[in-house]
C-alpha cells in the first residue's frame, strides 16, 4: 500500500503546479510551476518503477530523460522570458495578451 501515497503526493504536487501555472502573473513563476509539474511526473515514474517494475526499472530511465529535457526546456523558457522582457520591459503574464481575437 505504499504506491498510493507516492502517487497521491505526486498528484498533489502536480495540482499545486497546475494552480501555479494558471494563476501566476510572473512568467518566471510559471516556469517554476512547470518544473513542479515535471517533478510530480518524475515522482510518479520513480514510484511506478519501484513498485511495478523493480527489475528492469524503465521508469528510472524515463525519469533521467525527463530531467534532462526539463533542464533544456527551462533554459529555452528562460531565454524566451528574457527575449520578451527585452522588448516589453515586463514579465507580467497579463501584459502578454496581444494575440487575441
Amino acid at each position: 500500500m505504499q504506491l498510493q501515497y507516492f502517487l497521491l503526493l505526486a498528484a498533489a504536487l502536480f495540482c499545486i503546479g497546475i494552480f501555479g501555472l494558471i494563476t501566476s502573473r510572473n512568467a518566471v513563476r510559471v516556469l517554476m510551476s512547470i518544473e513542479l509539474l515535471l517533478n510530480a511526473v518524475n515522482l510518479n515514474l520513480m514510484a511506478f518503477s519501484n513498485f511495478l517494475d523493480s527489475t528492469l526499472i524503465k521508469g528510472q530511465v524515463f525519469t533521467v530523460f525527463v530531467i534532462t529535457v526539463a533542464a533544456a526546456e527551462a533554459a529555452v523558457g528562460l531565454a524566451i522570458v528574457l527575449a520578451i522582457y527585452r522588448n516589453r520591459d515586463t514579465v507580467d503574464m497579463e501584459q502578454f495578451n496581444l494575440l487575441k481575437w
Partner: protein, 619 residues
C-alpha cells in the same frame, strides 16, 4: 354560292382577325413614312368582306335547321376540347349585326380619328373585337365562350387605354379590366363546376341535359350564381357597373361598339345558358333582382349625369338589366330581340352624340345647347335612336319591351311596373339629353358647330335608315310578336309612359324653368350624380380589404418569413462575434482550457470505472 358561303361562315371571325393583324404594321414605329390611314382602310375592306359573307350566308340559313361544325382543338386523357360552332339563323344574323355595326363604326372612326396617329393600334383592336364577337356568337361551347370573353376583356383593357397618356384613361382601363376579370373568374368557377354535373360544355347538350337533370338544388344554385357573375361583369350590372362609366374615357368609335355589342356579349352567354340557369329558381330570381336593381338604378343615374357619354353608358346598363330580367323569367327570344334593338339604337345614339363631341369639344351637356338648327341630321338621328330605344311604336324596342311586359303581365305584374319605370326613366334621360344638346339657346361651346363631315354622317344616316326599317325587317322575318295576341293594356301603358315622360321632360327642359335644375333635396341629386358613390363603395369594401390583406401578407413576408431566414444568418454572425472572445490572448487561459478539456475527457472515458463509487458517495 350561298350554300358554300354558309358552310364556310366560320371564316367570318378570321377576316376580322386578319384585318386586325394587317393593321399592326402601320403603327407609327414600324411603317414610318406613309401615315396610319391604310390600317383603317384595310380593316374596312376586311370587315366589309365579313359583312358580305355573313349577309349572303344569312339568306341561305333562313328556314334551315342549325348545323354544327366541330374543330378539334385539344384532346387529352379524360377531356376532349373540341371547338363546337353552331351555324344557325340566330348566330348568322348576329354575325350580320356585329359585322354591320363594326363596319359602320369603322367608317365613323375614319372621320372621328382623323387627327389621330394611333390608327394601327385602334383598328387592330377593333378587328380583334369584331373577331372575338363573331367567334363568340358562332361558338357553341361554354368553355370557348369563356376563352373568348377573356380575350375580349384584355381587348377592352387595351382599347379603353388607347390614349394612355391621360391619367383617367389609365385608371378607367384598369377598372374595366379588373371588374370584368372578377366576373370572368367567377364564370370560370361556374364553368369548371358544371363539368362534373353535366359532363359537357356544349350549349346544345347542356340544354338537353337540363331538361332531365336531377341535381342537388344548392349545387346548381351556386353554379348558376357563378355563371351569371361573368355576364354580370360583362353587361355592367350592379354592383360591377362602374367600369362602363369609366370606359367612356376611350375613343367614341369604340364606344359605339362597346355600348351596342360588347356589353351584349355577356347577355349572349347568359341567353345561351338560360336552360341551365332556369334549373334553379334561386338563380332566376337573382337574375331578376340584379336586372331590376340595375335597370332602375342605372336609369336614375343616367338622368343625373352631365357627361354626355356617361348619360348613355348608364342607359346601356339599364337595358342590359332588362335583358337580365328577360332571361330570368325564361324569355329567351325577347332577350335576343331586346339585345338586337338596343344594339342598333344605342349605336345610333352614340354616333349622333359622338359627332357633337367631335366638333363641340365639350362633353358637358350643360354647356351645350341650341344645336337643332345647326345639326339637323344628328338631331334626327338622336330622336330616332331615342324612339328606337324606348317603347315607341312602331320602332324596334317597343316590340321587345311589349313582348317582355306581355309575358310578365300574368305571372309577375310588379315586373311590368319595373319595365314601365325603366322605359319612362330612359325616356326622361334621353329627352333631357336631347333638350340640353339640341334645344334651348346656343351656348358659348355650341355657338359655331357645323355638322360633322361625311365619314361620320354617312354611317349615322345608314344606321338611322336601318333602325327605321328594323320593324319592317323583323316583320318580314316574322320575328315580331303578333299584335293581335298582344296585351293591348301593356302596350298602351308603355306607349303612354314613353310619351308622357318625353313630354314632361321636354316641357321641363325646354320651358322657362331655371337651369340647372335642382332637386329639392340636394343630397339625393348628388347621390345619383355620383352613381350611388360606387367608387367610394369599392374603395371602402373590396379595395380596402384587398389592400389591407396585401399589406399584411407583405409584412408577414418581409418580417416573419424573411426574418426567420435572416435570423439564421444573424445567429451565426453573432455566434462568431461572441465566441471569438474565447481566444483571450492569455497563454495561461489556453493552458486552463487544455487542462479542462483533458480532465473532462478523462472523466468521461473513465466514468464507468468510478461511476458506482461516485454515485454512492454523493447519495
Amino acid at each position: 354560292m350561298a350554300q358554300f358561303l354558309l358552310e364556310t361562315v366560320w371564316l367570318v371571325p378570321c377576316y376580322a382577325l386578319i384585318g386586325g393583324l394587317l393593321a399592326v404594321p402601320w403603327s407609327p414605329g414600324i411603317i414610318r413614312k406613309t401615315g396610319p390611314r391604310p390600317a383603317g382602310y384595310i380593316n374596312l375592306v376586311m370587315t366589309f368582306l365579313a359583312f358580305l359573307h355573313s349577309a349572303i350566308a344569312l339568306q341561305a340559313t333562313w328556314n334551315h335547321l342549325p348545323e354544327e361544325v366541330f374543330i378539334p382543338w385539344l384532346s387529352t386523357a379524360g377531356l376532349d376540347l373540341t371547338i363546337a360552332l353552331e351555324i344557325s339563323s340566330v348566330s348568322v344574323s348576329a354575325l350580320v349585326v356585329i359585322t354591320g355595326l363594326n363596319l359602320l363604326a369603322q367608317i365613323y372612326a375614319v372621320g372621328y380619328m382623323e387627327m389621330d396617329w394611333g390608327w394601327g393600334r385602334f383598328y387592330s383592336l377593333l378587328g380583334l373585337f369584331e373577331a372575338g364577337l363573331c367567334a363568340l356568337v358562332l361558338c357553341n361551347s361554354l368553355f370557348f365562350s369563356y376563352v373568348i370573353l377573356e380575350i375580349l376583356t384584355l381587348g377592352t383593357y387595351l382599347l379603353v387605354g388607347l390614349w394612355f397618356s391621360q391619367p383617367l384613361v389609365v385608371s378607367g382601363a384598369r377598372d374595366a379590366f379588373l371588374t370584368k376579370r372578377v366576373g370572368d373568374l367567377f364564370l370560370l368557377m361556374g364553368v369548371l363546376a358544371l363539368w362534373p354535373l353535366a359532363g359537357t360544355w356544349n350549349y346544345t347538350e347542356l340544354a338537353q341535359w337540363a331538361t332531365t337533370a336531377n341535381v342537388n338544388p344548392t349545387a346548381i344554385a351556386l353554379v348558376g350564381l357563378a355563371l351569371i357573375a361573368g355576364p354580370m361583369g360583362k353587361c355592367a350590372q350592379f354592383p360591377l357597373h362602374l367600369w362602363l362609366d369609366e370606359a367612356m374615357e376611350g375613343p367614341v368609335p369604340s364606344t359605339i361598339l362597346r355600348n351596342s355589342v360588347v356589353v351584349a356579349s355577356g347577355a349572349w352567354v347568359l341567353i345561351k345558358l338560360q336552360p341551365v340557369l332556369s334549373l334553379s329558381p334561386i338563380v332566376s330570381s337573382a337574375m331578376v333582382a340584379i336586372g331590376v336593381v340595375t335597370s332602375v338604378g342605372a336609369s336614375l343615374i343616367a338622368i343625373a349625369q352631365i357627361d354626355l357619354k356617361r348619360c348613355q353608358s348608364y342607359s346601356v346598363s339599364a337595358y342590359m338589366g332588362l335583358v337580365f330580367i328577360a332571361v330570368g323569367v325564361q324569355q329567351y327570344e325577347t332577350a335576343l330581340l331586346l339585345v338586337l334593338t338596343h344594339a342598333i339604337s344605342a349605336a345610333l345614339l352614340v354616333m349622333s352624340t359622338g359627332g357633337i363631341i367631335w366638333n363641340s369639344i365639350t362633353q358637358d351637356v350643360t354647356q351645350l345647347g341650341g344645336l337643332w338648327t345647326r345639326r339637323p341630321i344628328s338631331a334626327i338621328a338622336f330622336i330616332v335612336g331615342t324612339l328606337g330605344l324606348i317603347a315607341f311604336p312602331p320602332l324596334g324596342s317597343f316590340w321587345a319591351l311589349v313582348k317582355l311586359a306581355d309575358g310578365l303581365w300574368e305571372t309577375q305584374p310588379w315586373l311590368v311596373g319595373v319595365v314601365i319605370t325603366v322605359n319612362a326613366l330612359t325616356a326622361v334621360s334621353l329627352t333631357r339629353e336631347f333638350a340640353l344638346i339640341f334645344g334651348g339657346k346656343a351656348t358659348q361651346m355650341s355657338q359655331r358647330s357645323p355638322e360633322a363631315h361625311w365619314p361620320m354622317v354617312l354611317p349615322m344616316v345608314i344606321l338611322l335608315g336601318f333602325s327605321l326599317h328594323l320593324p319592317l325587317v323583323l316583320q318580314s322575318l316574322s320575328i315580331l310578336p303578333d299584335w293581335a295576341t298582344l296585351n293591348k293594356d301593356v302596350a298602351l301603358l308603355l306607349i303612354w309612359s314613353s310619351i308622357s315622360s318625353c313630354g314632361i321632360t321636354a316641357v321641363v327642359y325646354l320651358g322657362n324653368i331655371p337651369k340647372p335644375i335642382r332637386l329639392p333635396w340636394q343630397g339625393l341629386q348628388n347621390f345619383f350624380a355620383y352613381d350611388f358613390y360606387t367608387p367610394k363603395l369599392y374603395k371602402m369594401t373590396i379595395i380596402f380589404g384587398v389592400a389591407k390583406i396585401s399589406q399584411l401578407a407583405d409584412m408577414i413576408d418581409r418580417f416573419v418569413v424573411d426574418g426567420i431566414v435572416n435570423f439564421v444568418g444573424l445567429f451565426s454572425l453573432l455566434g462568431g462575434e461572441g465566441l471569438k472572445y474565447s481566444t483571450s490572448g492569455q497563454t495561461q487561459f489556453y493552458a486552463l482550457t487544455v487542462l479542462l478539456g483533458v480532465s473532462i475527457l478523462g472523466m468521461w472515458v473513465t466514468w464507468s470505472f468510478w461511476e458506482v463509487q461516485f454515485l454512492n458517495l454523493i447519495s
